[in-house]
Structure formats: C-alpha cells, structure tokens
C-alpha cells in the first residue's frame, strides 16, 4: 500500500528502539523536492526522526514520488541511485541501512513470510 509522505514522517517521529540496529550509528537526511527535509538518526538501536535540514552522514535527494516508492519498497534504493532518479551525497552504506528501517519498510516485514 502506498503511504503519503506525511504518514511516513509522522510515524518516524516517534522514537523507538530497533534491536537489529544496536551495532549501528549514523544519520541520513531525506531532501524531498518541493516538500522539505527530514533527518533520521540511528544511535545503537535508537531510531528517531525529525523535520530538519541539519547535517547528516548521507543525504538522499528525491522527488516526492520516488521518496514514497523507495520507502514503500517498490523502488530499490540502489538502482534508484544508479539510474540517476535519486541523488546521494555522503555515505552510501548509511543510506542503505537507514532506509531499511523507516516505517513503511518495517510494515513490510510481513513479506518475510515464506512464499
């Protein structure tokens, strides 16, 4: 199901703990064209996000459509970079990890069920 940008941002604002990220630390900012920027911070399992244009380990620039498609899991982030659909500044590894753990993706964990 496609999510709206606002839904994704609202749900991410709630700070939470994700055990899968206990070894990870990094920040990733999404600059959404015509909408604004929001920053996701992961600090050894603690995941928090806020509307901010602050500095980050990596910055992903995209259209609103691509942003939603990526976070809904419809568009692979890596191929979006390669195609030039999405811009990247900074650490690709951080981008790859962080985008996996924003809310739309987390909901899709149901897909982990056996086919």
């Amino acid at each position: 199901m496609a999510h709206s940008i606002q839904q994704i941002i609202d749900e991410t604002k709630t700070e939470r703990f994700d055990e899968r990220l206990v070894d990870f630390q990094g920040t990733c900012r999404f600059d959404i064209e015509g909408v604004g920027s929001y920053l996701v911070e992961v600090d050894h399992g603690r995941v928090a996000a806020r509307v901010s244009h602050g500095p980050a380990d990596c910055v992903i620039t995209s259209s609103p459509d691509d942003f939603v498609r990526i976070l809904d899991g419809e568009q692979n982030l890596l191929t979006a970079f390669m195609q030039g659909r999405v811009g990247l500044q900074g650490d690709l590894a951080v981008a790859m990890v962080v985008h996996e753990f924003v809310p739309a993706h987390r909901r899709e964990e149901g897909r982990e069920a056996r086919p």
Partner: protein
C-alpha cells in the same frame, strides 16, 4: 583477457591495455578503462606521425601503475630509433598518463603526436550477451576537455579527457604538434576522468603527476608482501608462484563503497571486479594463513548486505548471503537482478564456515560477537529457506527464470548438473557439496555458540542437526554397488544425479563423509577417471556430459583442487594431498606462476603440459589463492587453540619447504619441513 594484456587498478577503477599501453576493445579483446562495471574508455590509441609505436618493454610491477617504453617502428626487426616514447600511467578516478618523448638525434624533429579516444560505455552483460545499447552515445569538446558520454533517461555516464599544454582537441582525440630540439625532450599530461558514475562526480583523475607519486587505496603492494609470511624453499619456481599469487591477490583487492575501510577480494579481472559472495569467501579462506584482513572485510560487507526480505527477482530471502553485486546499466534498470543478486545456494553456509575459520586463525572474538545476529539469521535461512521442501537438504531453484541463475552452486553453467547419461537434472536441485557445507557450518557454529555466544542450547541443537544430516546424507546420496561414490545431487524428484564429479572432494573438506566411505571416495578422486596427473577433473572421464574442455564438465579448476586437497588432509590422506598440491604447483610453473581459472582435462601423459583453456578472467581470485591453500596443505598448518600446528606432508620432489612469520592468534610463527613423501603408488592410504 589475453595473457599479453596489462592491468592497473585502484579501488573500483581499472585499466586494461595491450603492452604498448593502447586500448582497442573488440568483441574478442577486453580492453579499456573500467569503473563500477561500466567501460568508460574503449579506445585509447597513441600514434606518432600517424603510426603506432613499437614496444621495447613494459613495467607493470606495481598493480596501480604501469610504464610503457616505446620506439617508432622501423619496419624491420631492428630497433635503431632516434626517438624514445615513454607512457606512465596511474589509475584512480580514471587515469593519469604522462607522455614523454626523447630525441636522441643531433637534428631537430617535428612530429605529430595523437591519441585517439572513444567509449562504448559497455555494461558487462551487454558484452556477455551481445546486446545493443538502449540509450544515446554523445561526444563533444567543451571548456578545454573532450566529453564522451552516454545517456538513457536520467542515467548519465561521462568520461572527460583533459590534456595539458597546447593540445588540439576534437571529438575523436588529442593532437600535439611537437618540436624537439637536438637531444631535446617533450612531455604532456593526459587525464581520463570517470566524471559521472551515478554516485560521485570527479573533475580530475586522482593522481596529479604520474605513477611515481601515485599511491593506491589501502596497503601498498610492498607492505602487503612484507606483511605476508616469507617462503623458504629449494624449489626456485615456487617463489615466482608465491610472489605472483600475493601480487595478484593484492591487485584484486576491492574497496567496496559500502564500508568505510577494508578490502575484500573481487572475483577476477576485468569483468568480475565486483563483490561475489562465493568467490570472496573461498579466496578469503584460502588466504587466511597468510592474510586475514580480506576475510574480515568479506564477513563485514556480506553480513551488512545480508538479505532482509523475499524478493523473487533478486532471489533474495531473509538471512541469505548475496551472490553478486553490480552497478552497470542493465542492473540499474533492473533488466538484470544484481543489485544485489542472491542466487547462490551455498554462500550462506560458506559464510558461516569462514566466520569460524577466521576466528580460529585470528582469535578475533569481537568480530564473532558483532556478527552473532548475522550468523543466527544465516542459520535460520538454512533451515527455513535453504531447505525448500522440509526434507532436511538444501535445494535451489531460481524465482527469476528470466534473468536468474538456473544453477546456484559453484558449477553454475546451465549444463553442469547432469546425470551419468548426460541428461539434465530436474529442478529444484540439491547439490551434494552444499549439504557438506551446511554440515560443516552447523558444527562450526556450534563451537562459536558454546565458546563465544554463550548459548549451549543453540550449540546442542546445531550438533544434533549436523549429526542427523550426516547420517541421512551418507545413505541418501551414496551411489552404491560397484560405483561407490556420492551423487552429484538429488534432482527435483529426489533421484540421485549419478555423475562422478569433483564435488565429492568438497565433501571430504566439509567432514560429512563417513570414515567407512572415505577410501572409496579418495580412490575415485585420485583414480584415472578424475585425476589427470595435473589435477582432479570437474567431471570424470567417461561420464555422458564429459569433455576435457567442458567448462564445468571436464576442465580442471585450481580452486576446486585446493578444496579437495584440504579435504584429503582432513581425512589424513597425506600422500594424496601432497600429490595433488604438488601437481597444482607444478601447473603454475607452466603459466609463469599464475594459475588460470581452469585448464583442459587431457591426461598428463598425453599432453605433457597443462593445456590452457580460454576463460574470462585473469588473474582470478580463487585461482590466485590456490597456491596459498596448497602451501597450507603441504605444511599441514592448523590452528589449535592459541598455537599453530605444523604437520608437514611434503613430497620428496620439494627438498625444503618453509614459511616464516605466519600470522595468527599466536603472533607470528614459523613452519619448516623437508620433503619425505614419495609420490609413487596409486592406492589411497591413510597415514
């Protein structure tokens, strides 16, 4: 890549040219400047007064830089040239090339120097499958540089060519009109920049003034060699093989942009300079007694990119370890699934084997703790997804029949898994060696669970699973009667795929073979149907699909033999291990110390030398790792607790063999041996 080519590389960028330094790509000649799976330059040809100079010599001893010493051709076999032409090239974000002309004559000279340029922006898969490009190639001259470009929608790749001094630029090249005084000199600097690669923009090549000041990413070749154990041997040619293996592995180190530091082995030059799960793991295993950083990086990177979801296009499943990662055009547009692709049924178990083996050698408990979750997810994948039908065995069948791999074992060519009569095995296939790897992975992870993760329950469960698997495997895969070997696989109908193949040697390495069956397995491996005298064939002579030049159904693969040799030692067939290791090291001497990916399976007595087989990669990582693994086999190197056990099995043909400064959890240790094993006699015997 043909043997006469020169490769220089740095990070994810490498240049392949002929020995004059020219690049002239063709369907049969893989030359050019490559970056992230795309060819940024397919034509780079130097002419002086319209003629291509001849070669005096090439210096490519440093893997990141090369020098080419040239003279004008005279049309005769004699070189009596009044002019020297020197090209110095260093790779990094493209390459930098210093061009130098020396006039040796007492008269002045006027010359036209030109470099022809061009790029096809080819992707590996276009070259492999002869596909046409879907976008638009363009070229122009702007702001003092030549732009070669390719555009498809928003996918843009550009090569910029910058030339120093009073160069005349046009869309096809760079021209200098050179005046040389008597005994005068002239020089120019050319830069080829991989300007847009989809991730980064570069305005300049990485190094500003040629090879002398260039420093590649990571440890230098000299540091790499200095850190490795020192070989001591009376066999002089072995030194060449050892040095070449170390240099090739150094050159194949790949600095993935997914990690801040560390290198892992790419599979091979030129088209396999990419992350491959299986190849990186096997090569890291082969090299562990010599260098452990590659293994560490491979574990971290492959762990970080472990599968998280079910994605049929990429054959991805939660916990699975990736097979291949690419960045080329077809991958970008999802016309190929390598972003990354997870179509390897053995990599997840091999990953766990490497994790344990890495800790045994290095004592790096922290990394094993750090990767505990990764390992648990990998173990869960083996149980939940690797075993597709719940019969206790690992099976594979791609969910992407269009562009996925039909064979997801190391013998991944389409016709590799066949019955003795040559008919293709039905999918899903349960290859025998993968069951062995899983057995080994469970036993090893049981140790890690007990000693490091403090989880005795998991250890107990894994040991039970491993024991049960071994018991059933030795019944279900055994081809009995007078044949006496393990089937290559079970097919989709659970029938034994009864070809006799080298895979049975991997079973020895894994430890899954019952002691009572080992004699029979070894007799086959060292018998005339499988052993050529140079090595063990991938498939036995006489099988329906066998051909001495069949890619996975005949040819001899060095890395395959290194695993078999380690298996022979595991089951204490020391003489046979020594024979195999010595034969493979002999093979290397026929290839100037660089083992090929594979060679033809003609009997040794028939050809008297190993017959080369044309393959895609040279050097290839696990072929380069093979001499290292064979040295381990000959010296019988095994970590035991905090000590290095040395139990040599060296043939009398090698009078003296030793390694000093072997790194490990013990610090540094030495191993010496004298050749005492006579290789006469054909019957396998335990020692």
């Amino acid at each position: 890549m043909s043997a006469g080519m020169v490769s220089v590389l740095d990070g994810e960028t490498f240049a392949v040219s002929d020995r004059r330094g020219d690049m002239d790509a063709s369907p049969t000649e893989t030359a050019g400047l490559f970056h992230m799976d795309t060819r940024y330059l397919s034509r780079w040809i130097l002419t002086v007064d319209g003629k291509r100079p001849g070669l005096l010599s090439t210096d490519d001893l440093a893997y990141h830089a090369a020098q080419f010493f040239l003279v004008p051709t005279t049309g005769t076999i004699y070189v009596d040239a009044p002019l020297s032409i020197i090209r110095r090239r260093a790779v990094g974000h493209g390459f930098h090339e210093d061009l130098e002309l020396l006039n040796h004559a007492r008269e002045p000279r006027d010359l036209e120097v030109r470099v022809e340029v061009g790029s096809d922006f080819a992707d590996l898969f276009e070259v492999k499958d002869a596909l046409a490009k879907k976008g638009e190639l363009y070229r122009r001259v702007e702001d003092g540089h030549i732009v070669l470009g390719y555009r498809r929608d928003r996918f843009v790749r550009e090569t910029w060519i910058v030339a120093s001094g009073d160069a005349e630029l046009d869309e096809s090249g760079v021209r200098y009109r050179v005046h040389l005084e008597p005994h005068g000199e002239w020089s120019a600097r050319l830069e080829v920049v991989t300007a847009f690669d989809g991730f980064e923009r570069h305005d300049r090549a990485k190094y500003e003034s040629g090879s002398s000041k260039a420093r590649p990413e990571g440890t230098s070749l000299q540091e790499w060699v200095d850190n490795a154990p020192r070989l001591v041997s009376s066999w002089t040619q072995l030194h060449r093989t050892y040095e070449r293996s170390l240099a090739d592995l150094a050159g194949l180190r790949f600095y993935p942009r997914f990690l801040k530091e560390g290198a892992l082995p790419a599979a091979g030059l030129p088209w396999f300079m990419a992350v491959f799960g299986r190849d990186s793991i096997i090569t890291s295993l082969q090299a562990l007694p010599f260098e452990s950083e590659m293994a560490r990086t491979a574990l971290l990177l492959l762990g970080a990119m472990q599968g998280t979801r079910v994605d049929g296009f990429r054959d991805e499943e939660p916990g699975k370890i990736l097979h291949e990662l690419r960045f080329g055009e077809l991958t970008a547009f999802e016309e190929r699934p390598q972003s990354p692709y997870f179509g390897g049924a053995d990599t997840t178990a091999l990953y766990l084997v490497l994790l344990d083996e890495y800790e045994r050698w290095t004592g790096d408990v922290d990394l094993v703790r750090r990767l505990e979750r990764t390992a648990r997810k990998a173990l869960a994948w083996i149980d939940e997804y690797g075993d597709r039908d719940g019969d206790g065995y690992q099976e594979y069948q791609t969910q992407n029949p269009e562009t996925g791999l039909p064979n997801q074992c190391w013998k991944d060519s389409p016709g590799a898994i066949v019955f003795s009569d040559g008919t293709l095995a039905k999918l899903p296939r349960a290859c025998c060696e993968i069951q062995g790897y899983v057995y080994d992975a469970r036993r090893r992870c049981a140790r890690l669970a007990r000693e490091i993760w403090n989880d005795a329950a998991l250890a107990g469960k894994l040991e039970e699973q491993a024991d049960a698997l071994k018991r059933r495997f030795n019944e279900d895969f055994w081809v009995g009667g007078d044949r006496g070997y393990f089937a290559l696989a079970l097919d989709g109908d659970k029938r034994k795929v009864d070809s006799l193949t080298s895979n049975i040697g991997h079973l020895l390495w894994s430890g899954i073979v019952d002691d009572s069956k080992a004699d029979a397995v070894v007799a086959h491996l060292m018998g005339p149907r499988l052993f050529t005298g140079w090595g063990v064939r991938t498939m036995a002579e006489g099988e329906g699909a066998y051909s001495p030049i069949g890619y996975h159904v005949g040819t001899v693969w060095p890395h395959d033999n290194s695993i078999i040799a380690m298996g022979l030692r595991r089951y204490r067939y020391d003489r046979e291990a020594a024979r195999l290791a010595y034969a493979m090291l002999e093979v290397a001497t026929f290839f100037d110390g660089r083992l090929p990916e594979a060679f033809a399976a003609h009997p040794r007595a028939y050809t008297e030398f190993p017959v080369e087989y044309p393959t895609a990669c040279s050097p290839q990582a696990w072929a380069a790792g093979t001499p290292l693994a064979m040295l381990r086999v000959l010296l019988g190197l095994e970590p035991v607790g905090d000590h290095l056990l040395v139990a040599p099995a060296v043939p009398v043909e090698i009078e003296q063999l030793g390694l000093t400064n072997i790194p490990g959890r013990w610090g540094r240790a030495d191993a010496f041996a004298r050749g005492r094993i006579a290789l006469e006699g054909d019957l396998p015997r335990r020692h």
